[in-house]
Each structure stands twice: as C-alpha cells, then as structure tokens.
C-alpha cells in the first residue's frame, strides 16, 4: 500500500501543489485587492497596481474592526463549546440508545436547516424578544447553537456509534463511572469528529449576518458578519476595505482550525479503534 516509487512521489508532490494553489488563489485575489492602491481599477492584472496598507489601517482603526472581531470571537467560541457539549450528549443518546421517536428526533433536528433563513428573521426576532434574548451575546450564541446542532448531532452520532461497546464495558468492569468512561474512552475516539463539528459551528457563528444585525440594539455588539457589510453603502462599495475586512475575517477561522486539528487529531492516531 505504500509503494514509494519516484513516480508516485512526484505525482503526490504535483497533487499537493495543484491543490494548494487552487485553494489559495481566490484568497490571493482577496489579499492582493486588499493591499491594492486602486482596487476599483484592477481588472485582470495578476498583481496589484501598488501596495498599500491604507485599507487595513482604515478597517482596523477608523472602522474599529477589532471590536467586531472581539465580539465574534466570544460568540463563536461560545457556540462551539455549547453546541459541542449539547450535540455530544444528544449524539450519545441517539447512537447508544434505541427508543421510540429516535428517527423522528433526528429528522426534526435536520428540519431546522431546511427553513429558509429570511422566513425566520421576523418570527425568531419576536420569539427572542419574548424570551429576553435580544441585545445579548448569549442570546445570539444560543441561536447559533440551534443552527449548528443539525450537523453536529448527525456527525457525532456516526463517530459515537463507531466506538466499540467492548471498550465501554471494559471501562465499566474496571469500576469507572459513566463520567470517567466518557472522558477517557469515548471522548478521545470521538475527537476527530469534533474537528469538523467545531469548525462548522465556528463558521456558522462567525459569518452569520442577519440575526446579528437585527438582534443587537447596541452597535458595539455587532459581529464581523455585520462589520463586513458596513463597507457596502447605498450606492457604492469600498472594495479595498471589503477585501481587507474579509482577510481579517478569514484568518481567525483558519487559526481556529489549525488549533483544533492539532489538538483533536491526536486522538485519531491513538490506535484505540483497532481494539
């Protein structure tokens, strides 16, 4: 399976180069527009017509973008943690137990993803107002948890189901409580699934716009999703700032992914799966 012929090595290297360059090309375009001295007149040239950091400076200092980033980081991390915990518990429920309405619960969780967002804006806003969740970061976090639960539960269900019961029982025989078993047996093996789930929850909370805009009465609580839109005015768009803001929005997600992957992917190679 691991024939290391020069040909396969070269093919792999080529594959890596193609994959990385195609994946990064739009990002390159975004970044180069963000530093372009005259972004509006760029056209088709591969290189920007001049390098300037004015757009970044404007976005960070004049528009106070760091404030949006701070708010978004809190909300996004909150979403990841809360949604991870809730989804994991729910995943254990549907993967390990057989009960009536199990299929229905799974489908109901999925239904949330099916409703077009714009239709939910007013009803959800009114419901949040009734529950006193408006203008609070926690309230917004809970909304995002709701939106990310579908994928989280469905995805983690597969990983929980894949953990052999013998391992669990072995832990019980050794006298472990459910909590201990969960932490030392189940969690490490489910961790790889948590990577995709966490990133998905993070991105859901990070890029969302319409609820962040309508929920907050105080402009100081706007997220980066809203912040990005502030550079689109009624008749014009400040493309330099839009691209600079987009770059600032893209990077934390990638950083988050790197951190999560490094810490959770370790679980994959632990070898416990092979029993």
């Amino acid at each position: 399976m691991n024939r290391r012929t020069p040909l396969s090595q070269a093919a792999k290297a080529l594959g890596v180069v193609v994959l990385i360059s195609l994946s990064l090309f739009p990002f390159y375009w975004m970044l180069s527009t963000a530093v372009d001295t005259s972004p509006l007149s760029r056209g088709a040239s591969l290189l920007p017509s001049g390098i300037t950091f004015e757009h970044f400076r404007h976005v960070l200092f004049d528009a106070g973008f760091l404030r949006y980033v701070r708010v978004s980081v809190v909300v996004a991390l909150g979403t990841v943690l809360l949604s991870g915990v809730i989804a994991l518990l729910a995943a254990v429920a549907v993967a390990r137990f057989r009960f009536r309405l199990r299929t229905q619960v799974l489908i109901m969780v999925l239904m949330v993803q099916m409703v077009p967002l714009e239709a939910l804006v007013i009803p959800l806003f009114l419901q949040a107002r009734t529950l006193g969740m408006l203008n609070s970061l926690l309230g917004l976090t809970i909304v995002y948890v709701g939106f990310s639960l579908a994928f989280a539960i469905w995805n983690l269900r597969g990983f929980v189901a894949a953990v052999p019961r013998e391992l669990e029982e072995a832990a019980y025989i050794d006298g472990a409580t459910w909590g201990r078993m969960f932490r030392s047996v189940l969690l490490p093996l489910v961790a790889p699934g948590l990577v995709a789930t966490s990133v998905f929850s993070f991105i859901t909370a990070w890029n969302e716009f319409i609820f962040a805009l309508t929920f907050m009465q105080d402009g100081a609580k706007y997220t980066v999703g809203v912040g990005l839109r502030t550079f689109f005015t009624q008749n014009t768009a400040d493309w330099g700032s839009v691209m600079a803001a987009s770059t600032l929005i893209t990077l934390p997600v990638v950083i988050f992914f790197v951190l999560v992957q490094r810490n959770l992917a370790k679980g994959m190679t632990a070898g416990a799966v092979k029993g």
Binding site: G15, L46, F99, L120, P192, M243, V258, V273
Partner: protein
C-alpha cells in the same frame, strides 16, 4: 422503555447495551429516561427557540401579511390562497424548480466527488504535508461566501476579468463580446464553480476524519485478497463510511437547494435575469423583497416540505435501519 432485570436475556437481540451485574441499580432504573435526559438540552434549544418561529411561519403562510399587518398586530387569513398562487405559477415549474434541482444535483455530486477525492489524497500524505494541505483548503471554506462570490464575479467579468483576458490573449474570444451571465447554462456553471469551491473543504475535512477511523487491517485483508485500489475503495471505504457520507449528502443537498447569496450577488442574479432564478432568490423577490411576509412564509413552508421529503427518502435508501 422497559428495563430488563439483570438475569434475563436481552430480548431485542443485542441492540441495547448489555446489563452487567456490576451496573449499579440506580443507573439501570434510569436507563429508560437516559436518552431523553441526554437529549434534553438540545431539544430545549431547538424546541423553545426554533419550533415556535417555525410554527409562526406556518401560520403566516396562510395569511396575506404585509408590513402594516405586522405593525398593527392584526391577522389577515386567506386560507390556502398563497399556496395556490405559488403552485400554479408556471414560472416556478418551468424555470425556478428546474434551475434549483439541477443546480443542487450537480453541486452535490461535484462537491462529494471533489471533497472525497481530496480527502483520499490527504489521507495518503505524510503528517506534515497533510496538515499544510488541509490548512490550505480550509482557507477556501473560511473565505466568507459573500467575498468569494464577488471574487468569482470579478474573475469572470466578461469585459475585464482574468478569464476573458486569458481567452482574449489566446485568441479564443474577444473581451466584452459575450455576457455569459445572461445565459442560464454559463451562469450556473460559474455559480457551480463558486459553490463547489466553497463547499468541498467541508466534505474533505469530514471525510478525512472518517477515513482515519477505518482500520488498516480491513485494507490489508482486502489487498491480500487481490483487490485493486478502486475495489478497495468501494468494498471497504464506502461501506464503513456510509453514515458520514449520508450526513454529507443530506446536508449538502439541503444547503444547495437553498443557495441564495452566491446567486443573488452575481450579475443579473438578483432577479434582473429571470431565467437564472433559483428557489432561494425567487422566494426572496416574490415575497420579502416586496414586503409580502405571508407569501414568503408559504414558499418557505413548501421548500421545507420538499426538503423533508427528499431527506426522508435519502435516509431510507442510504442507510439501513439498524445503522440509523
């Protein structure tokens, strides 16, 4: 939920965890309620926060509801009029639905193929290059959909974009001679590129996590039996990963049906070019853009119902009952 006493054999043939002598009595008795307790936080969030609004949407779909109704707090029931109006609109059947279904199918298939291929490729790399490559493809997912769409639009600008400049340079097409955004097929080709680009990292990362849980012995055994890489993929990888593939396909289908931003922001995609409208944009311009909240809710209900049917069909065919 019946709980079997310790000494009887478990009647459902192994689907429930064994009841061991060492399991404390308290836990045994609680087992019936256990799944619901674990589900409680999730169900509370979804039920309290989202179920009521969804019911409200259903309620609004039966009304002719505009801004003045909203502000005055009065209702205006018209029964199924909205549904009739939507379902008897030939534009829906001739243009919107075919665009949406076709686009969704192509996007899901391509995203799954590209995402899975990339996952397989990443799985075959050494740790360092795998990390670097995975981080690179993450960037594609991390770029906001709005920004990504504008970038694709610029690259494909028929007058001064990178693509047309290249084509012009090669002598294939003159700059500004043809506007591919006005043609349904070319418009959606570009949109597909955008959506697949933005979506494949999600599939790749999810599938990669799954791939790493497949025990090597299964592959070795298959290889010993003389199976080729292609056969190994279909006989070992796919069956093992079926639950994950199912999740990815179902969610991708749902999302690609509802695509809005990536179409709306393209030239002509905001309703100006009627032939390229998809369900997401059409539902928006037919209703919310006009302040018709009742009609918007109707279309939302119809779309949800459609996706529900599709999902149930998927779940039945892609997954055997026990696996679910």
């Amino acid at each position: 939920m019946s709980t079997a006493p310790t000494l009887e054999k478990n009647p459902s043939g192994g689907a429930e965890p064994f009841v061991r002598r060492t399991v404390p009595r308290g836990r045994r008795l609680r087992r019936g309620a256990a799944p619901w307790l674990l589900l409680a936080p999730g169900l509370i969030v979804l039920g309290v926060l989202l179920l009521w609004p969804m019911l409200r949407v259903l309620n609004l779909s039966l009304q002719d509801y505009e801004l003045r109704n909203l502000l005055r707090g009065d209702s205006n029931y018209v029964g199924l009029d909205n549904y009739v109006q939507v379902l008897t609109d030939p534009f829906l059947w001739k243009t919107v639905l075919p665009n949406t279904v076709g686009f969704a199918i192509v996007c899901v298939v391509l995203t799954m193929i590209v995402g899975t291929s990339v996952a397989l490729f990443l799985n075959s790399l050494g740790t360092l290059w795998r990390s670097i490559s995975t981080t690179a493809i993450m960037v594609a997912w991390a770029v906001p959909a709005l920004t990504g769409t504008y970038i694709f639009v610029w690259l494909f600008d028929p007058q001064s974009g990178l693509v047309i400049s290249a084509l012009d340079g090669l002598g294939i097409m003159d700059a500004g001679s043809y506007n591919w955004f006005t043609n349904r097929w070319t418009f959606y080709a570009i949109a597909t590129l955008n959506v697949v680009y933005h979506g494949f990292p999600f599939i790749a990362v999810t599938m990669l996590a799954g791939l790493m849980t497949v025990p090597d012995e299964l592959y070795e055994a298959a290889a010993l039996d003389g199976a080729s890489a292609w056969t190994r993929f279909w006989q070992v990888t796919v069956p093992t990963l079926r639950p994950i593939i199912a999740v990815c396909v179902i969610l991708s289908t749902i999302w690609d049906f509802k695509v809005f931003v990536q179409i709306f922001l393209m030239p002509g995609g905001d309703g100006t070019t009627r032939e390229v409208m998809n369900l997401g944009v059409w539902s928006y311009t037919q209703s919310f853009a006009q302040g018709e909240y009742g009609m918007g809710s109707t279309i939302a209900v119809l779309l949800t119902a459609l996706l529900l049917v599709i999902s149930v069909v998927y779940i039945r065919t892609l997954m055997k009952e026990e696996e679910l």
